[in-house]
């Protein structure tokens, strides 16, 4: 499921078919062996074992896809008769909609009630319907739940409606399907009626309706180009092939036939194994023979294929599970407080019910004649609503649960969702997160982890496309030991074809000396070598030149399409020097060599693989010599070179120079094959490519045999440009206390040089390199590393206070560089623990040559062992697993397109946006959300405690003086809106301050805004304030004529004012919206009380009017608020002045900027030291 990004030196696609069908037995090499299912496997932890972070959903894809890859081994699992639609398999109709009109209600309700909070809600509501237990009126108690359910249902219904619409449109599209019993009639058929086994004809620019194996194409060699942008977001064209057998068969008699055996449907879009039984022969099929639903046919006038997977079994549908749902850290932590509150709830209910029982026992004999109790109903002569003390205790308990339920703030979840929505809006609207160059906006794809952005401790970054732009630019070449790196003039080079001017799309700066040498070449040895060098660049690749029309009818553009941006850069470079690749078919390439068009036969091609780390191509040249061109990583190329010491040494020196400049390097080599050598190779190659078993290994050994005695032509340096602002961004992140790890597929030298250029590595760092080829040696170097670290620590910790920070404080900064090979031995074994120890001691970690799943493994290494939050950022399909594994996954919506973005929680255009995103929005989100949660706990606890104290004066019968409507509206209206608005709008510090002092980010990492202490403090405040609210009126109205409704209104209003005042005291920035909501809410509460007390059939009719007419009421309100707020005010005033947090000081700095301007100049120096 995750593609290895094209490594620096080769591509990962299947090559063109071996030359002409007549010369070579038609057959395909095995699918390329990919690093990610080759020599190692990354331990993907079992979701059940990950107890420490158990609430994080494990992305299902990793393990699932691994399993499926293994299952893919048996090809027998599906047999498709070509041309005979089979009803046995899933049809092509798709259905992404969840509901139908009939099933909507039950299914939607079921979905909604899968949330625990709703079940709690429901249980309380149901409980309230029992007549003995009923606390609230039936209507009133159902209302909140009904409201929430209704709103959610409407939202779901609308989303589903949209899905239905798009399903319908998709299913009713038309495709040309071969009519049964005919040979060449393709009447249109709706997509939903296409079945496995149907033969479908697709024309250029048409979308493929299902996963199909190509049978024939308009190209005589069976080539078809597809664009897979819908599938993996990559815009370049991919080449697919029809088998010669079927291609020929089709062109001869138009008929098809045979039985196709293929693996079961799976989600690996880069893998496919099958064979076709045709005329008693087995033709093997690989991933290069299948085209997938959702892709578009390009540059091929038509193609015919047989459907093998349809509908929901297509790869695109199987890959279409939305991003895994993650839960934010705060939400997980909040469970702990919920448990505490539940215990409080049970405690309160128990207290109330036990006291009620005691009261009943004490008054046992009196209940009959006591006027306010009167046990019996004399019309029936039986007890009325009294079932004995034991039962009464039980009923009281249940009633207490209903009355005090709000202490567990269910509305909090709804508030949190609304706050996140608002935060997401503001993040998306931030102009600092808008990428002008790609015109992409910041996007919140996951709506439930906004606040995690404020607590990140580890940043895992992909390199290519994330730190760098992934625009490869050919910079310099070393040819035969001569360095040509002074490229200056950008001269577009064009070739003339059929009186038309064809110009390569990208011009590369050329070195004039080299250019001249090439012009005069052909005569001397040097010139020939240079020519061979560029021929190698033009031929030894899998680039497909596309000719694009321009506005000028006499001019056309050559667009090189290929999967590796490095190869593109090299092909454009060759073109700029006058060696222009003009045409490529499966059997030959046409190259315009300095104006002379020549045809080179491609006799064979050896794929890149991660063992050899090189690719090679056997070419039949126009002068009828046979040559092998190879290119690959220096380490692999120098091992197979013939001995030409001087030039090789010079080349090596140049390579070193290039990679220390941060360039990606490749070594290019050539070998002339003699006729016997060629023939020997040819027969071996034929045998290997037709082998049924172990084809890949055989081909590899053929390649290894022929790739020897290479004459090194030279090396290339390609620049992978850093994105804007990357070094500064990394510096900011590190200042903010985050550890930045770079995980890249590049080789060590390149990774290190990029590390230097983005200031991750500096010269004063001690580098620990782990680069081994066996488990034992890995173990040894890890142990050595630990020993080194210990040694450094011992010498350095003496004078430091804080051991955690000692690594940096003592000036010993460690950088760890791990190689992918070593990770193979480390990640799945017990060495993990050691690596973790070493890695956490280092401030910089670079992992090079890592495969996609290893990236996820590294993230998991940290995530499973610490409580620290991890963030992964990447842009390519190879980053998907890492993005899904990390607590927060960010996709860069850049060059490589969609797949990473699809899997991510947030997407944005540039790496440097990480800084405002984390330091500003993350900080805000975290502090807002943390405060909002605590405040919600506090305000509900205050209210519940107010209710609880009153129960002590009602013979423990759970009467509420506050009217039931006010009780219900308390959470819904009286106190909810201000917290939501504050949660969206309040900000503790301005953007500029947060950016200027990255260390302020630490408050989130240290959980400063939400922790158990704050929770306890809030609960104590709730306790105090509830006592004040209850007892001041209690003592003032003791032995008076005060009636229940009036006192209830006073309590309600006082509670609302107190909790809103608490909020008001904690608000940091008052803008008009916050003013409106805070004061508006208090006004709205008063209005509601008036409205409720104007309803004649409620007992409280007229109470508030009477109450407000008395001076006592106003005096009480005033003193309640004052007495309730004094402790909070004292704590605030004290801590802010005598125990100030960094944030507090920064706030003061903002406010008194002008005062401190004078000594400003020296200050930034200190803070950044």
């Amino acid at each position: 499921m995750s593609s290895e990004r094209p490594l620096l030196d080769a591509t990962a696609t299947t090559p063109p078919t071996p030359a002409a069908a007549s010369r070579l037995p038609p057959s395909q090499p095995e699918p390329p062996v990919r690093a990610d299912h080759l020599g190692f496997s990354v331990e993907v932890p079992d979701p059940f074992r990950r107890s420490r972070r158990d609430n994080r959903d494990q992305p299902p894809d990793l393990s699932a896809s691994r399993r499926e890859l293994q299952e893919g081994g048996d090809c027998e699992s599906r047999a498709v008769v070509v041309g005979e639609p089979s009803a046995e398999f899933s049809g092509n109709a798709i259905r992404t909609a969840k509901y139908s009109a009939l099933t909507f209600l039950p299914r939607n309700l079921f979905e909604q009630f899968r949330r625990l909070s709703y079940v709690y809600f429901l249980a309380i509501t149901v409980l309230n319907q029992l007549p003995q237990v009923a606390v609230f009126g039936r209507g009133a108690s159902v209302l909140p739940l009904a409201f929430v359910l209704f709103v959610t249902a409407v939202k779901d219904a609308y989303e589903d409606f949209r899905r239905h619409r798009s399903d319908r449109r998709e299913n009713n599209r038309l495709a040309a399907v071969l009519a049964p019993q005919t040979a060449s009639e393709f009447p249109p058929k709706k997509w939903k009626h296409i079945r496995v086994g149907d033969v479908v004809r697709v024309v250029s620019s048409e979308t493929l309706p299902a996963d199909m194996v190509l049978l024939a194409t308009s190209d005589s060699t069976g080539v078809a180009h597809v664009q897979t942008v819908n599938l993996d977001g990559e815009t370049n064209l991919k080449t697919r092939y029809a088998k010669q057998e079927t291609q020929l068969r089709f062109s001869h008699n138009g008929g098809v036939g045979g039985i196709l055996h293929c693996e079961r449907p799976n989600r690996n879009i880069y893998g496919f194994q099958a064979y076709l039984e045709i005329d008693g022969k087995r033709v093997s099929l690989g991933p290069s023979n299948i085209v997938l639903r959702g892709c578009e046919l390009k540059n091929t006038s038509w193609a015919i294929g047989v459907v093998v997977y349809a509908g929901k079994e297509t790869k695109v549908m199987l890959n279409n599970s939305g991003p895994p749902s993650k839960r934010s850290r705060l939400e997980t932590q909040l469970n702990r407080e919920t448990v505490i509150l539940s215990i409080m709830l049970i405690g309160m209910c128990t207290t109330a019910s036990v006291l009620a029982g005691i009261w009943l026992l004490n008054h046992r004999g009196e209940l009959e004649f006591t006027q306010f109790f009167r046990e019996k109903d004399y019309t029936t002569g039986k007890n009325y609503n009294y079932y004995g003390v034991g039962m009464q205790i039980f009923i009281t308990f249940l009633m207490a649960v209903i009355v005090y339920q709000v202490i567990i703030p269910i509305s909090l979840y709804i508030s949190m969702e609304m706050v996140r929505l608002g935060q997401a809006y503001f993040m998306g609207a931030d102009k600092d997160l808008y990428d002008k160059s790609s015109r992409s906006k910041f996007q919140c794809r996951a709506l439930n982890i906004n606040e995690d952005l404020g607590q990140i401790k580890y940043v895992f970054s992909d390199k290519t496309g994330t730190l760098t732009e992934n625009k490869m630019e050919f910079q310099c070449a070393s040819i035969h030991g001569v360095d040509y790196s002074s490229g200056k003039d950008t001269r577009g080079y064009s070739v003339v074809v059929d009186d038309l001017l064809w110009t390569p799309k990208v011009a590369v700066r050329t070195d004039p000396q080299l250019f001249k040498l090439l012009r005069n070449g052909g005569t001397n040895v040097e010139g020939k070598l240079v020519l061979d060098f560029f021929l190698a660049l033009a031929v030894c690749n899998t680039i497909v030149p596309l000719v694009v029309d321009t506005r000028d009818p006499r001019q056309k553009l050559i667009d090189y399409q290929g999967e590796s941006p490095d190869e593109q850069a090299l092909a454009y470079a060759a073109a700029s020097y006058g060696i222009v690749l003009v045409e490529r078919t499966s059997g030959y390439v046409v190259i315009d060599v300095l104006g002379d068009r020549q045809r080179f036969d491609i006799l064979g091609l050896h794929e890149f693989d991660s063992d050899r780390k090189r690719m090679s191509v056997i070419v039949g040249c126009p002068d009828s010599t046979v040559k092998l061109y190879a290119k690959g990583a220096d380490s692999s190329m120098f091992g197979i070179t013939n001995k030409e010491l001087d030039s090789v040494r010079a080349t090596e020196a140049h390579l070193h120079k290039y990679s220390s400049l941060g360039l990606r390097t490749l070594v290019v080599g050539m070998r002339e094959l003699s006729q016997p050598e060629y023939e020997e190779w040819q027969s071996a190659y034929e045998n290997a490519s037709t082998a049924v078993l172990g084809r890949g290994n055989l081909l590899r050994s053929v390649a290894v045999n022929i790739e020897c005695n290479i004459h090194i032509l030279g090396a290339t340096g390609i620049e992978d440009k850093l994105q804007d602002g990357v070094p500064e961004a990394i510096e900011s992140l590190r200042q903010a206390g985050m550890k930045v790890w770079i995980l890249t597929g590049d080789k060590q030298e390149t990774a290190i040089s990029i590390g230097y250029s983005c200031k991750l590595l500096t010269n004063d760092m001690t580098q620990i390199v782990i680069n081994n080829n066996s488990k034992e040696s890995c173990k040894k170097s890890l142990e050595e590393a630990i020993a080194t670290i210990k040694e450094l620590r011992v010498t350095s910790t003496l004078d430091t206070l804080n051991p955690v920070l000692s690594s940096e404080s003592a000036g010993v900064v460690l950088a760890l560089i791990v190689d992918g090979n070593s990770l193979v031995y480390i990640l799945e074994t017990e060495l993990q623990e050691e690596l973790f120890k070493v890695a956490t001691e280092c401030s910089v970690v670079l992992c090079c040559r890592v495969a996609p799943l290893q990236k996820a493994g590294i993230v998991a290494l940290i995530k499973n062992r610490t409580d620290d939050m991890t963030l992964a950022i990447g842009d390519g399909a190879n980053d998907v697993s890492m993005i899904q594994m990390a607590d927060v996954g960010i996709g860069i919506s850049g060059q490589e397109g969609g797949q990473a973005v699809m899997a991510s929680d947030f997407s944005m255009g540039q790496f440097r946006f990480l800084v405002p995103l984390l330091l500003v929005h993350g900080h805000w989100n975290y502090q807002r959300m943390g405060y909002m949660i605590l405040y919600n706990f506090y305000k509900n606890a205050t209210f519940v405690l107010v209710l609880f104290w009153y129960v002590l004066y009602t013979a423990f019968t759970l009467t509420t003086a506050i009217s039931e409507w006010s009780s219900l509206l308390y959470t819904v209206l009286y106190t909810s809106l201000p917290t939501i608005v504050v949660g969206i709008l309040d900000k503790d510090l301005s953007k500029s301050t947060l950016l200027a002092y990255p260390k302020l980010y630490g408050s989130g990492q240290r959980n400063e805004k939400y922790n158990l202490n704050l929770f306890v403090l809030n609960m104590v405040e709730a306790l105090w304030q509830s006592l004040v609210v209850i007892y001041i009126p209690y003592f003032a109205y003791r032995q008076s004529t005060i009636d229940m409704s009036s006192l209830g209104d006073l309590w309600a209003l006082a509670s609302v004012i107190v909790v809103n005042m608490q909020l008001a005291m904690d608000i940091i920035r008052w803008n008009w919206i916050i003013h409106a909501f805070v004061w508006g809410t208090i006004a709205a509460t008063a209005i509601c009380l008036f409205v409720i007390d104007s309803i004649w059939f409620l007992p409280g009719y007229g109470a508030i009017y009477h109450l407000m007419g008395t001076g006592l009421f106003w005096l009480l309100l005033l003193i309640i608020v004052a007495a309730a707020m004094v402790p909070h005010f004292v704590i605030k005033a004290f801590t802010e002045h005598f125990r100030p947090s960094d944030i507090q000081i920064a706030r003061e700095m903002e406010k008194f900027e002008a005062l401190n301007q004078v000594n400003r100049s020296e200050i930034p120096m200190r803070t950044l030291s």
Partner: protein
């Protein structure tokens, strides 16, 4: 966010699939406004020492005088309380108070003598006070039906009035429910010497209740006819809106010790005046150990005699003044320059980088 992208993968229109991704790339630059950039003009209050001290001082300065005034007002109120539930039981019945109160043949008349402790200006409020009577008991509070009281056509609506809904033969009781059934029925007649002090029983209930909650055309029926007499009987010729004792009683008290207005005496009383009260001790509080008290009280703008509010203001006000001084002292002893970079944690421990 959801899986709707599948459908969109290959059509050109909607869905979250790639067409959307393409569209995403072409989104417009967000519009700049102070709102979207979260830069609305805002006030950022900070608790500077000046503010803290001023707030405390201000609160103190306001609260202390308010406290003094409230205290004086409460001290002005003259209140005479007389507990009579025990005293009115004949000596021979003190062991069987329940028998006494339930025995209809025993006369419940009782005479109490009160001495005025201080001059009392009219109007003098006459209250009865019940202790330990849970008018806020859940089964009691619920036992009423307001529809019935307001509309004579709805006399049959007795839902939630259990256990006092209907008579044994099923006729609806008006007013139904425990609250009405338990209506207080002690009566008081006041004399100063030979002078009868008339108790004005008009306007003792809320006007809103008389006008909107209890109708003029609803008359009591089948009331207090059941197996157990809870309290007063009602004159079935007087509409509910004029039964002010009932209206007062039905405004259920918030706390188990409560007073209800009985009437007003519009006569000034002098210090050492002796007042004899002839009362009918009908109401049964003996069954649950409740107390009955007769209260004569004057009133001020603040209500009755209650020192609590005044003390509360004095305490809070005094505390605030104390805090104002305490904080001033603290600020002087341990001053801190506001917004000084040197206090940032990483500058305080420079080693901590």
């Amino acid at each position: 966010m959801d899986s709707s992208n599948a459908a969109g993968t290959s059509n050109g229109g909607s869905g979250d699939g790639d067409p959307a991704a393409a569209a995403r790339r072409n989104t417009k630059m967000p519009k700049y406004s102070k709102f979207t950039q979260q830069e609305l003009p805002a006030c950022k209050p900070i608790l500077t020492p000046k503010w803290v001290v001023s707030v405390f001082f201000l609160v103190g300065v306001i609260f202390v005088p308010v406290g003094v005034v409230s205290l004086l007002a409460a001290r002005d109120v003259v209140e005479i309380i007389d507990r009579y539930d025990d005293a009115c039981v004949p000596v021979n019945m003190t062991d069987n108070k329940l028998g006494y109160i339930q025995n209809e043949t025993i006369s419940k008349e009782c005479t109490r003598t009160l001495t005025v402790t201080k001059d009392m200006k009219q109007p003098i409020f006459v209250y009865y006070q019940l202790d330990n009577f849970y008018q806020n008991h859940r089964r009691y509070v619920k036992s009423r039906n307001d529809a019935q009281l307001r509309d004579y056509k709805k006399a049959n609506q007795t839902t939630s009035c259990e256990p006092e809904r209907t008579t044994a033969d099923g006729k609806p009781i008006v007013p139904c429910g425990l609250i009405a059934w338990s209506l207080f029925n002690d009566t008081y007649i006041f004399n100063r010497g030979n002078e009868n002090l008339t108790v004005d029983k008009k306007d003792i209930s809320w006007k809103s209740d008389r006008e909107h909650k209890f109708a003029k055309n609803v008359y009591p029926s089948n009331f207090q006819n059941g197996g157990l007499i809870g309290g007063a009987k009602l004159d079935s010729s007087i509409p509910l809106s004029d039964q002010e004792d009932l209206i007062v009683w039905m405004r259920t008290a918030a706390l188990p010790t409560f007073r209800k207005l009985y009437g007003r005496i519009y006569v000034d009383l002098k210090e050492n005046d002796t007042i004899t009260v002839k009362l009918d001790n009908n109401y049964n509080t003996y069954s649950f150990g409740g107390k009955k008290k007769l209260v004569l009280s004057t009133a001020t703008w603040l209500g009755g005699k209650n020192d609590f509010l005044g003390f509360a203001y004095l305490i809070v006000g005094g505390l605030c003044i104390f805090l104002a001084f305490a904080f001033t002292l603290l600020y002087v002893i341990k001053p801190r320059k506001l917004g000084d970079h040197n206090y940032l944690s990483w500058n305080r421990h420079p080693a901590g980088r």
